[in-house]
């Protein structure tokens, strides 16, 4: 199934016209794929060696299982990464994600309580940061992962600025 199905067709007014979607930079894809290859590669190697030495070379074929998983995961990660995109509109932020379980979130800038930029040790190594938006509703799950730190900071500053200008409280 296509990831970028044209759901968003709002023909009313200029603002509701097709927003400019921004995808994620390839850093996140690289990081996730590398982690996948490292972990599943190690698993395949360990399993192959262990089975080959203990049970005979025929059994070592089971080590192909993690490799198949790796190939599948490689594709899945790619599709998932392609499905992530966000758009800054005049008054709200759009985040769209998911391949099988699609989810699209709209957060008006005025409702933002807090914008957070986080970056774990692995993410930092790959030069990535994620931006998370908090509103008064805990159900609002607006996170953009794997951004360039500079872009993340720009987004944070812009969102804070817009949020301040349009703040509305509860």
């Amino acid at each position: 199934m296509e990831t970028g199905s044209p759901l968003n067709t709002g023909p009313t007014g200029n603002e509701a016209a097709e927003p400019t979607w921004i995808g994620l930079p390839p850093g996140l894809l690289r990081m996730r794929r590398l982690l996948l290859v490292v972990w599943l590669g190690l698993l395949a190697l360990g399993l192959g060696l262990l089975l080959g030495l203990l049970c005979g070379p025929g059994w070592a074929a089971f080590a192909l299982l993690p490799l198949a998983l790796l190939a599948w995961g490689w594709v899945l990660i790619g599709r998932n990464w392609r499905s992530w995109r966000y758009a800054e509109r005049a008054d709200d932020l759009l985040i769209s994600r998911g391949v099988l379980w699609r989810e699209e979130t709209v957060v008006p800038y005025g409702r933002m309580q807090l914008v957070e930029v986080t970056s774990g040790p692995v993410e930092r190594h790959f030069g990535l940061a994620s931006v998370q938006l908090h509103t008064a509703a805990a159900a609002t799950d607006a996170t953009i992962p794997g951004l360039d730190p500079a872009e993340a900071e720009r987004l944070r500053d812009r969102l804070t600025e817009l949020g301040e200008a349009r703040s509305a409280g509860l």
């Binding site: 699609r102 979130t105 008006p108 409702r111 509703a137 159900a139 607006a142």
Partner: protein, 461 residues
Amino acid sequence: MTAPGVEDAVRGREPVTERRLHPVTPLRRAWAPVAVVIGWAVHDPDQAQRQLTRLTTTTLLIALAVLVPVAALYGFMTWWFTHFAVTESELRIRTGLLFRRTAHIRLERIQAIDVTQPLLARVAGVAKLKLDVIGTDKKDELAFLGEREARALRAELLARAAGFAPETAHEVGEAPVRELLRTPPRDLAISVVLTGSTWGTLAAALVVPPLLWLATHSVWTVLATGLPLLGAAGASSVGRFVTEYDWKVGESPDGLRIDHGLLDRAHETVPPGRVQTVRIVEPLLWRRRGWVRVELDVAGSSNSVLVPVAPRAVAEAVVARVLPGVTVPTRKSLSRPPHRAGRCIPLWWRAYGLTVTDTYFATRHGLLRRSLALVPHAKVQSVRLSQGPWQRLWHLADVHVDTGANKSVTARLRDAQEAATLLRAQAERSRTGRRDAGPDRWMTSRGESGRAPGGGGVRGG
């Protein structure tokens, strides 16, 4: 804890008169050491019994002579070190003997104020003042205050939160209340009897213990399962009757007044514009009588019942007062999902409904126990669209609307195209809907209300 220099600077600017709680308060905490002893005895019964047999009258007397003053001292100290003060924009509570805690609660962020009186407090003529603030898990409470003092303080807090000038704030007094609804005890009793869960828990409490007895012949197992079941049955029938007895809903310029309780009286106040969601629930067995129950969500508050039981027309009139300019949609005016929704959720899809007007977003669900949820556009925090693989096959999608009370209202199984337009339109409406909403300080006009910083309460500890 705030740095002493800062605190002095703040004090220097505006002299704040700090007050203490009612002198009865120490008694409430005095039994804490006794509770510790009981807890120890329950935790380790064998040892407790051995210790008890060794006790003589003299040791008992000595223990009492030590324990009672220690308890009294503890109670006195916690009371002595708890202060509160009302400033122009904040309620400050300072408490704690070893671990100091200072809570500064911004008045315009208060979501609701409750004055509650447990049975013993009613005898002593004191009351508890509870404040609902967003973002805190537990309620800040002032326990106990004199009954009259609690009412005066509530009036003052509400007046200041409403934006009256500080000099006049404590002369404004209690706002006049106009009664909207009063639940007769007879209706309440019938409604409890007609609730399925009452009978369910009661049946479980009567059936499960004998079966367990037949299976195990162990008294402890039977007691361990039977007592909680009986407790649950009691809470859902007698407990509900007792808390919802003499339920009164009133309207005042300070917002909604809810008074209820047979033994423990509670007086809740929800200022205008604090209601995030209203739900009208119609259990199966109430349908013949045309009764409904109305629930409401306020950010940071746990109490959710607005009307325990009332005829539909009366309940709708109350809802119209709570959410100004809202008329509850009729069954016919809600649009159903398309027929293919039955492939996703058979039968129950018929109960789903959605309608959007220029003031609210309303959805319905529940085939047997119908529930209609209304969210004013101004209260929508974010809008989400979600679509699973099976829903995508049938070109269906769900639209969730999140409110500040941490509840989401979901329009389920809409046509995918319709859902996408709804998503965009709803985001637009929730953004513009805020413009017409009243200010946080509800007695001021929109212009001078100003913008308050994000958090509900500012704390130091």
